[in-house]
Symmetry: C2
Subunit: 214 residues, 2 copies
DNA sequence: AACGCTACCAAGCAAGCGCTTGGTATTCAA
DNA sequence: TTGAATACCAAGCGCTTGCTTGGTAGCGTT
């Protein structure tokens, strides 16, 4: 029974996270996590998520990957550029992940539920480290950097809007519903702890789905 | 004493914001906005909301009220204490405002709708300057300060939980529903602009209500 | 007139910040 | 064997930060 479920899960999701990352790296859309630049981006994603952007110093970041603070600027031109690059790569990865989650969903209802669960997994599991930064640290970006990230983000949001529209949610137009969902889901970072034996991510996804698409 | 407070509370149900503030100042629960300390707290609420806590310097704050930065520490012991005091006073004011909004609501449905609209007004109108700080800058507080603010916040959240419970919302227990609502509502600060001729606050309240309590 | 209290100024300190500079070790292709 | 490229170190610069110190002007009370 346990094995059958596991086989089914792996059969439905064509790629593991590592395989998905590998494919995106080969396409040149993501930085190789093994390269110095990639290790910096991953460490930055973790630190910015844990402590916030302005409370993370370049010395913190350098210590995390075992180099001196000045060496960071051999790979990036400024601290803000690091945040910008982190956000862009996080968005690209989350998009690919959600698109692959949508492929194994049949009905419009299932598609919306898959979106919700995919975003919750991005926020809470190690699935997409740094995803919550996209909302929480948005104001730390300059306007120029915001535009760069929005260019990537449009694709991700389009998947959401399609899912909301076809699922016929109440509450007016899809854009408003999505924005309310962004807030509700991203804020779970502050209170939902999937490790504690209480709510699981699928259960929480069910509740959110139940509220937004009854 | 208990009765006197009750009478005072009922008397303030139809008060304007200024009158409500005045009553709370007289009870000693709020700092007089005309005093130097009060002017600092109001300016801090505006600045922390606009630019964020860590991007606001004590020099910014001092300039806003027309004094030098060092003089701030004649009124507060640290920058973090200012944030803590702002949060406490914002919570006290928002509680009083919401309680008075609940009194003119009849059915459980109306009570929940009144809660939603009251919080949206707190976030977007000048009703409660600094309200969004409560969510956005929570992590900027030390654990000791967080406990202080939570002491005030419990009362506010209890009103919400009662309203959600009696309105029989879907989506499981009231605590989870409230947390999803906190996220959805507080995030509106980033996208909803009541000045633009589009959605109004009552209309947005309707949509949120429609989603969370169909 | 003397006192104490509040509110503030003027000046600056120590620490921390993002970032720069000049140089070194290693690698690898020509 | 040379030369360019990559990845990093060592040292520190210039600036900003939250906060301190010592002093003063104005005020109401006694």
């Amino acid at each position: 029974m346990q094995e059958a479920a596991q086989v089914l899960e792996e059969a439905q999701s064509d790629l593991s996270p590592q395989q998905l990352i590998g494919a995106l790296v080969k396409k040149g859309e993501l930085t190789d996590p093994g390269s110095p630049r990639g290790r910096l981006l991953n460490a930055a994603a973790r630190l910015f998520e844990q402590k916030g952007f302005s409370r993370t110093t370049v010395r913190d970041l350098a210590a995390e990957v075992g180099i001196l603070s000045g060496s960071i600027f051999h790979h990036f031109s400024s601290k803000e550029q690091i945040l910008c690059e982190v956000m862009k790569e996080v968005t690209i990865f989350a998009s690919a992940r959600m698109r692959s989650a949508m492929e194994s969903a049949g009905s419009p209802q299932e598609r919306l539920r898959a979106c919700i669960q995919s975003e919750l997994e991005a926020i809470h599991e190690q699935a997409v480290p740094g995803f919550s930064i996209l909302v929480m640290e948005w104001r730390s970006l300059s306007e120029a950097s915001q535009k760069e990230v929005l260019l990537q983000r449009d694709e991700y949001e389009q998947i959401w809007l399609d899912a909301i529209n076809t699922a016929q949610c109440p509450g007016g137009d899809a854009a408003v519903v999505r924005r309310l969902l962004v807030g509700a889901l991203s804020h779970t970072y502050s209170w939902f702890k999937p490790r504690e034996k209480g709510l699981t991510i699928p259960e929480l996804s069910d509740r959110v789905f139940q509220i937004f698409a009854p």
